[in-house]
């Protein structure tokens, strides 16, 4: 009987085109909270999916209580007492909260395999109350907000009284108060003897909770430390591989006249009275917790979901953004958050992807011209430095960073004034990150006005001239120059309800 409840040695997982996990190690003691840290794309989520049996590792062994295990499907993992709270909430919008909690391990009568709704509802209510949720267990999942769904996810993990609980960025969408609540629960569980793997970007989470921390970088294992033995600085180095300041290239764009002004923009249910202005060569950050409405603001600016209040002034004249094509025509470009679903057509070659937005401009009377297309595609793909053999390589075969570069190239095809970048470096390895930041700075230098939406504090701080912080669909702070600091942003992003009420 080993001292570790869970042990993973030399795990490797390969996806077509990407090496998601490369010979990583992880050891978990019972009754400990073990933080797993690393940038986006460091392979944390994949690692979790391997533990929970969603993926099967290509190499490496997994020991549970010293015995080798090999989960073929999530149920086996669940039976072995492993539960996970996934970063992207995986729910059934059409079903009730209770069902979401118990799906896959419903309470059933011993004799007739009848589902015991009463017990399940009671149990669900109990869990929800434990988590301090205010909604009924009979509510339809689709009716809940992201944070509420997050709580359901936690309840789901609690419902199987698991010995190992994995929390994949559970606090990402929670305010400090909610986080506190979560910490309390986590500690309860730990004291009850459960082992918790806690994945988070937030250092405070780790310092507050974890006793050990393991760091991945670029899908490789970097090391494991006792939390009280490692300094913040060392940790960052471990995570990003170099001093954080070096992560951001010097930018030498001179700021020109105002190109975009937004006045009292609002969309029912998502955001309200958003006002800010943007000048040429300027990079402003739009940040806040996940679901604070920043992405929705950009969607509306780009005309995906039209806003219903306020006005947008581009180059001095009011424009009504009703459709993406129209917005692009008037000079607003958008790099969407999810490049796989919104940015690229994965089954297409790099070239076709790049030229898609501007086919009209390089066509003759509606007829496409191969030569023009290939020229443009080649030019831009090389400009943003896509790593590939030919421009016919499928987008799906590229790594995250290169895919993102292709999406950038799409923006360069049309002549724009404002470029909105939603999580431009999400799931991008460090090297590519740097390249992308360079592209951004170059664009700024060329006189584009740039809006960066990001939840990565360092990125915002390192790249932006000014920062607009959002919470609950409102801008709660406008920071610029020296007073852009992690503390200031967090404070504005997670102020207490009381103050937020005051702002109403």
């Amino acid at each position: 009987m080993s001292e570790y409840i869970l042990e993973l040695n030399g795990i490797t997982k390969v996806f077509p085109g990407v090496r998601a996990l490369d010979n990583v190690y992880f050891k978990l003691k019972p009754g400990e909270i073990h933080a797993l840290m690393g940038e986006n794309g460091a392979g944390k989520s994949t690692f979790i999916k391997v533990i929970t049996g969603v993926y099967e590792a290509n190499e490496g062994e997994m020991l549970l209580n010293g015995k080798t295990v090999n989960f073929r499907n999530p149920n086996e993992a669940k039976q072995a007492g492993i539960a996970a709270i996934y970063q992207h909430v995986t729910c059934y919008p059409d079903l009730s909260v209770t069902e979401n909690i118990f799906m896959g391990h419903e309470k059933i009568a011993t004799g007739s395999k009848r589902i015991l709704w009463k017990d399940m509802h009671r149990e669900a209510e109990r869990l929800l109350r434990e988590l301090g949720a205010s909604f009924s267990s009979k509510t339809q999942m689709g009716a809940l907000s992201v944070a509420e769904q997050q709580i359901v996810e936690i309840a789901k993990a609690l419902s199987v009284n698991a010995k190992i609980i994995i929390m994949d960025e559970p606090t990402a969408a929670l305010t400090t108060r909610e986080s506190e609540e979560l910490y309390r629960i986590a500690e309860q569980l730990r004291d009850a003897g459960a082992a918790i793997i806690f994945i988070s970007h937030r250092f405070e989470d780790m310092y507050r909770l974890a006793s050990k921390v393991t760091v991945f970088r670029d899908s490789k294992y970097i090391g494991t430390w006792r939390v009280n033995e490692i300094s913040n600085k060392e940790l960052i180095v471990a995570m990003v591989g170099r001093e954080i300041t070096q992560l951001f290239p010097k930018k030498e764009a001179q700021i020109g006249e105002e190109v975009l002004r937004v006045e009292g923009l609002g969309r029912t249910g998502y955001f309200t009275d958003i006002s800010f202005s943007l000048r040429r060569g300027e990079v402003i950050g739009l940040t806040g917790l996940v679901g604070s409405g920043r992405t929705e603001v950009c969607d509306s600016l780009f005309g995906i979901h039209p806003y219903d209040r306020g006005k947008v002034i581009l180059k001095g004249r009011v424009i009504k953004t009703i459709s993406p094509s129209q917005s692009m025509h008037s000079g607003i470009g958008y790099l969407p958050e999810d490049r796989q679903k919104q940015g690229l057509i994965l089954d297409w070659g790099i070239g076709d992807n790049i030229t898609l937005p501007s086919l009209k401009r390089i066509s003759f009377k509606g007829f496409t011209s191969k030569s023009k297309e290939t020229d443009m595609a080649k030019r831009l793909a090389e400009k943003v430095g896509v790593k590939a053999k030919t421009i016919f390589d499928l987008a799906s075969s590229l790594s995250g960073g290169n895919q993102q570069k292709v999406v950038f190239a799409k923006l360069l095809t049309t002549d724009l004034d404002v470029i909105i970048l939603d999580e431009p470096t999400k799931g991008v390895d460090v090297g590519a990150k740097y390249a992308i930041y360079e592209i951004i700075n170059e664009l700024a230098a060329q006189g584009y006005g740039i809006i960066i939406v990001s939840s990565e504090m360092p990125e915002i701080i390192g790249m932006c001239d000014r920062v607009e912080v959002m919470r609950e669909g409102r801008i709660t702070a406008k920071l610029s120059g020296t007073n852009i600091s992690q503390e200031a942003i967090l404070a504005a992003a997670m102020a207490e309800p009381a103050t937020s009420m005051a702002q109403r």
Partner: protein, 350 residues
């Protein structure tokens, strides 16, 4: 994100239950709305028809109506499962004909066989057809509409081949067999009893067994289903098997009711079944669908078929009217759904 939610942690108990209440009312109101709306629509229709022809709301006519709707409603249950999993099955008419023809021929050749045995036989044939179909859809992953389209041709063709163009007619069937579809128990037709029975089972299956709930899960979010350890392929396959079994049974009942088996039995019937489901609020997007709704949908279609002749609508108008009613119901559902979503947004205080 919602201040209500943020505040929730400091909310005293009383307020919480308060919050629960009004939330429950919203959602429950929404969930109920479809069925209620449909019910209202049906009642309205009934009244109108009654005004045109007083013999509509007579015990006899209602009995006929339900009897004629029984088979449709049985098939609708299966179709509901299929549609919940984001599929569709065009082959049920052909399956029905095939099993009906085979069992009828069995009856005519071996009169001594017990009707219930024939019923089982027919169901079995249906199960086999459904199994094959399910394999194509679930294991190989052919789009349901295409797979069922192809198999529809195959089953229909087989029916003709087996029967060699002949019909099996009333005098070749044993009275006991015909009794299956026409006999009554407590003055109520067997078909109705069978339909009731199936609805009870389905109610239990869909509401109170894991497999039943998994069907909803797979329809609602296949990826999440995989993560919660459900095997979508298996569920999908099962759904088509059930559908097949039901259409097989329906085939026997059909033949027994009309005391005749033809090659072209129930051709095009699948459309009315799908219509019944869609009208009953089963969402093609998957994951949504309730037995009560489907039952009402089936009844609505039954009323249309039963009443249009009653109120002397010209034969040439009937098709148009049916189509319009279906479209209307579908659009109504969509609009209601949107109302729901708006409701959810309004709950956010932003």
């Amino acid at each position: 994100m919602e201040s209500r939610n943020v505040g929730s942690f400091v909310m005293p108990m009383g307020q919480q239950t308060q919050a629960n209440k009004n939330k429950r009312t919203i959602s429950s109101y929404v969930v109920q709305f479809r069925e209620l709306g449909l019910l209202f629509f049906i009642l309205l229709l009934a009244v109108l028809i009654q005004m045109r022809n007083p013999s509509f709301l007579t015990w006899e006519n209602i009995n006929d109506l339900i009897t004629n709707t029984a088979i449709l409603s049985i098939l609708a249950v299966g179709m509901m499962l299929v549609i919940i999993t984001r599929g569709i099955d065009l082959s049920i008419g052909a399956t029905l004909a095939l099993s009906g023809m085979i069992s009828a021929m069995v009856v005519s050749h071996f009169p001594q066989v017990h009707p219930l045995l024939v019923l089982l036989l027919g169901t079995g044939i249906g199960l086999v057809c459904g199994g094959g179909l399910g394999y194509l859809v679930a294991k190989i992953g052919i789009l349901p509409i295409i797979a069922t389209l192809g198999m529809m041709n195959v089953f229909r063709g087989l029916t003709y081949l087996i029967s060699d163009g002949k019909w099996v007619s009333a005098h070749q069937m044993t009275t006991s067999f015909k009794f299956l579809g026409t006999g009554t128990l407590f003055r109520i037709n067997h078909l109705i009893w069978i339909a009731l029975f199936i609805y009870l089972i389905a109610y239990y299956f869909m509401g109170h067994t894991r497999t039943g709930r998994q069907i909803y899960a797979v329809g609602s979010n296949p990826e999440a289903a995989r993560i919660s350890g459900i095997r979508p392929e298996r569920t999908l396959w099962l759904v088509y098997v059930i559908m097949g079994g039901l259409s097989g049974m329906a085939g026997v009942l059909w033949v027994s009711k009309f005391a005749s088996a033809q090659g072209d039995t129930a051709s095009g019937y699948e459309l009315s079944v799908i219509a019944a489901c869609v009208v009953g609020g089963v969402s093609i997007a998957g994951g949504v669908g309730k037995l009560s709704g489907v039952l009402l949908g089936a009844i609505l279609l039954g009323i249309i078929n039963n009443a249009l002749p009653l109120i002397n609508v010209s034969a040439f108008w009937q098709m148009g009217i049916q189509g319009s009613i279906i479209l209307a119901a579908v659009l109504l559902n969509a609009i209601v759904k949107r109302g729901v979503d708006r409701n959810h947004l309004m709950r956010r205080k932003v």
